[in-house]
């Protein structure tokens, strides 16, 4: 594996940790955008061994374009519309989140040890990093209050799934990938509208307070 891929993986891990550590929603949005760019770069750097298939370029570019540009723009709009700058009181504090993240990271490496050989040639870090990204996303969804942050968690998770896809085979998932991308795009659109509506209706977007609607 090239040193470039290695460093990109590391960057992905660091963005995940930054996601866990930061309270500002804007930083988290930026993070998701950076992750998308890194993801595109990883796709490129992995396929650099073989001849670059046209499909790979399409996937990479569309990933960067949609998840790196369109979605962050949408989310930023939603953020401004709802008027939230930061996650105030998460269920799990930021220092603890980072520590839990570190534990999760270690765990992913332990789990992924037996899987190493089955993955893409040489890219032994792909699987643990993908798992870590997915778990980070899940953890964000679980531990944060604001709907917007939860959407960001969902996007992080999706990024992790993408890394998984890359690790399994570089060329194949073109169609699947495009499908997921479309789903995500629509999903975020809907959520943006929903958040906007919830905010107008209730003056806040704390999801735990939505539990009064349970009946």
């Amino acid at each position: 594996m090239s040193i470039l891929t290695d460093l990109l993986m590391m960057l992905l891990v660091l963005t995940n940790l930054r996601m866990l550590a930061s309270s500002r929603v804007a930083v988290c949005i930026q993070n998701v955008a950076i992750q998308a760019v890194v993801l595109g770069a990883i796709t490129f750097s992995l396929s650099a061994h073989a001849a670059i298939a046209a499909g790979v370029i399409v996937v990479a570019i569309s990933t960067v374009a949609v998840k790196g540009l369109v979605l962050p723009w949408l989310l930023r709009r939603a953020m401004k519309g709802a008027g939230i700058g930061r996650e105030i009181e998460p269920f799990v504090g930021y220092a603890s989140s980072v520590l839990i993240g570190a534990v999760l990271l270690g765990l992913c490496f332990v789990i992924a040890r037996p899987l190493r050989d089955t993955s893409h040639a040489g890219a032994s870090m792909l699987i643990p990093v993908a798992m870590f990204t997915i778990l980070t996303g899940l953890f964000i969804i679980i531990s944060r209050r604001k709907a917007l942050t939860q959407v960001l968690g969902y996007l992080t998770m999706e990024n992790g799934v993408c890394v998984f896809g890359v690790s399994l085979a570089v060329e194949e998932p073109l169609l699947v990938e495009m499908g997921i991308l479309l789903d995500v795009l629509v999903g975020v659109f809907v959520m943006g509208i929903v958040i906007h509506q919830i905010n107008r209706e209730f003056d806040h977007i704390d999801t735990d307070r939505l539990s009064v609607l349970k009946d």
């Binding site: 590391m10 220092a95 570190a102 990271l105």
Partner: protein, 304 residues
Amino acid sequence: MIILASIIHVVLALSLSPLLIGVINRVKAKFAGRRGRPLLQLYYDLWKLLHKGAVYSTTTTWVFRTGPLVGISAVLVAISLVPLGRVPALAAFDGDIILLAYVLGLMRFMTVLAALDTGSAFEGMGAGREVQFSLLAEPALLLGVGALSISTGDWSLSGIYGSLFADGLAAVAPTAVMVAASLLIILLAENSRIPVDDPNTHLELTMIHEVMVLDHGGVDLAFIQYAAALKLWVFCALFVGVALPLQMHWPLVDLAFGMAGVFIVAMVIGVIESTMARLRLLRVPQMLVVSAVLAMIAVLWALR
């Protein structure tokens, strides 16, 4: 030849470390648009302090007077244990990093006790923060070195640094980058630089190291300041060894590169101090946790 380089390193460290502080201050002055104090200011200060009498508080005991002595002795042992880039340390043996970390621990222990000996609330506060922050920095440092020792298969500092980049850059680059980042944070924290601590203000409540030595004066203060400069050198040398992937196999050339590296690090510290604000105290432990996590990532990458 190699041993000669090691000896020269120690001699240069002993003579040039106060200059390091001068460089940092000069960079900060340039950033602030000032002319700044002379590069050799710390030498003048030390000279003046060495020729002063002393005022000891009636509250204090022998502990207060022992603190600076133990501090400077400990850091002298440390300087003989630290390699400069590819130049091995004067005393290199398996596990020397443990001695290095613990000798610096002793220095801190006695400085803290000396601070508590004055009975001043300010110094007690500084002492409490010092021990709090260092307890996070120490595992990060040892984990980082552990990561390097996995990638090199060696567990003496000089051995690790000597063979770190021997097999080319690609194999160790990710580990080295992470360890370097972690070490930089530890360097800033252990040497009380911005964003952890501000070495310029003596009396603010956010102070850590400077407030602990508030009551020391004269010869004792000279010892403390010199020891602080040497400690900065120790950490700069540790950092340079990971961050500077150059190996010439000519000890004296390696030495020259290492020296250049140390002064570049000093300039970097100056830039960091000029461009960053001091973190809120509650944030400092988080930053140190980050450095430990970075070291852990380095370990995971090295274990691969």
